[in-house]
Structure formats: C-alpha cells, structure tokens
C-alpha cells in the first residue's frame, strides 16, 4: 500500500521535477520579490519622513534660539535617540 502511494505521483501525468521546479520557484520568487519591493518602497518613504522630521526639528530649534531654549538643549535634541 505504502509502495503504491509512493509510486502514484510517478505514474500521474505530472511535470518532471526539474521542469516543475522552475515554475514553483518562479511563483514563490514573484511573491517574495513583490514583498521585498513593497518593503523597499516603505523604507524609502520612512527615510523621507525622517528627513522631514529633521528639517522640522531644525526649524523648531531656530525658533527656540530666540531665548526660550535652555543652554545645551539644542545639542541634546539634535543627537539621534538610540
């Protein structure tokens, strides 16, 4: 019974593994590539947001230089938080 079960796929009209493998790999690669491209686009978007945030922070710092900011505050805020 077990032997028959293992032989069944060989008897069925399936593509040989070397040919079928290309198509299966292609389908999964398409899925992964789409995912990676999407993540890449999102990464670029986040980079733009970070840049805008830095510009906004610079404007805020310039305003505070008018006398409201405490000494040393600018340097503290300019350093990226880890």
């Amino acid at each position: 019974m077990l032997e028959l079960a293992t032989l069944l796929p060989l008897a069925a009209p399936a593509l040989p593994l070397d040919e079928a493998g290309k198509y299966v790999a292609g389908a999964y690669v398409v899925f992964m590539v789409l995912l990676v491209v999407y993540v890449g686009i999102m990464a670029a978007k986040l980079g733009r947001i970070e840049k805008e945030l830095r510009e906004v922070a610079a404007i805020a710092e310039q305003r505070n230089k008018g006398g409201q900011a405490a000494p040393g505050r600018e340097a503290e805020e300019a350093a990226p938080r880890v």
């Binding site: 796929p9 399936a14 389908a27 398409v30 805008e52 805020a60 305003r63």
Partner: protein, 240 residues
Amino acid sequence: MYGKGLKPLSIATVAMLALSLSLVFFYAPLDADQGFIQKIFYVHVPLAIVALIGFIVGGVFAIAHLRTDNRKWDAYSYVSIHISVIFGVAVLITGAIWAKASWGHWWVWDEPTLVSFLIVFLLYATYYPFRYAIEDRDRQARYASVFAVTAGAFVPLNFMAVRMAQSLVHPRTFATAEGGMPGEMMLAFLCMLVAIGLLWTTLVKFELTAKSASGQVKRLRRALDAPVAGGSSRIAPEVS
C-alpha cells in the same frame, strides 16, 4: 497610535510564514495528479482568498466612514484596498505561472474563475484614479467610500456567480463531489492561509503607521511655518 503592536505582529507573521513554508515543502505530500507543480497552490490560493477578503474589509471600513464621517476609517479602507491590490498582482502572476505549467497557457479566457478575478482586480485598479481625480479631501474620502462599499458588495456576488458556473478546467479548493484535500495538504494550506492573513494585517498596520507619521510631520511643519501669535511657538495638540 497605529504602530501599537506592530513588532509582535511582524514577528508572528515571519514565524508563521517560515512554519507554513516548511509544511508546504517538507510535510505536505506531492499531488497525485499535478506533482510538484501543485506547490504553487499553497501561495496562490491563500493570496487570492486574503485579497478578496481584504476588498470586503475595505468596504466595511468605508461603511464605518460614511456612518461616522471619521477620516480614520477612510484611511483604513484605502490601505486595506491598497494592500489587497498588491496581493491581487501576486495572485495574477502566480496564477499565470501555474496555468502555464499545468495547462500550457499563461491565461485561459474561457475560465470563469480567472476572468472574474481579473474583473475584480481591474475594478479596484480604477479606485486610485477615481480617488485622486477629486481634489477636495472630504469629497474624495466620501466618494472613495461609496466606491469601496459598492465594489466590496460586488466581490461576494461575483464569487457566488463563479461557484455556480460550470468550471471547465480550474480546480475547486474545497472540492465536494470528488472529496476534499488530504489532511496533510489541508493543514499546510490552512497554515499558509493564516500566514498570508497575518502578512496582510501587518502590511496594513505598517502602511497606516507610515501614513500617520507622515501626516503628523506635515501638521508639525504647518504649525511651525504659521506666524507666531503672541510670542508663543507652541504646537496645538493633535485631536483624533
């Protein structure tokens, strides 16, 4: 706000995808009829199911927007449709690859399942030009919601029409007359369905978080660019 829980969700998605792919390639048996090529089924069908459910979810969020007039629901609806369209692209490409391997053709025009999915996909592809053709933000959100509700209602109707049609070559996932999938195949398929569902949810949350952050930065910039009244440069708190 939108980023809450994104990290555990992302970890769960990656873990579930890894587990599901292991089950697909090392646990699920080879199909007696199609052999190794049937492995495409485990990525193609869950993507199609999640994409179609995503379109319906987009419609449900649109109903919430029309009922409450809260722009948050419009953002949810837009992002749900956006991610589902991306999944739809993956469905069409993986389906074409499977069709070429199984039937010898990239596309079969007389197969209702394929053509109906293409119609749904093209319908949602028109969502973007339709939405961005309207300049007024409130009208844009309202009209886009009406579109999302109408198109979302079309998805299950279309699905039922295809199920009732006499299919020529496309197989049914949960076959009834010829018996269902073997247990190992079903387990791998259900795990992959959960994994793709988690992926959809993660990407929706990711996109919403990015959009929210971008919006907050723009608000901040507008507030800072505005002339300072009474010597105060304080920024108004966000009201959501």
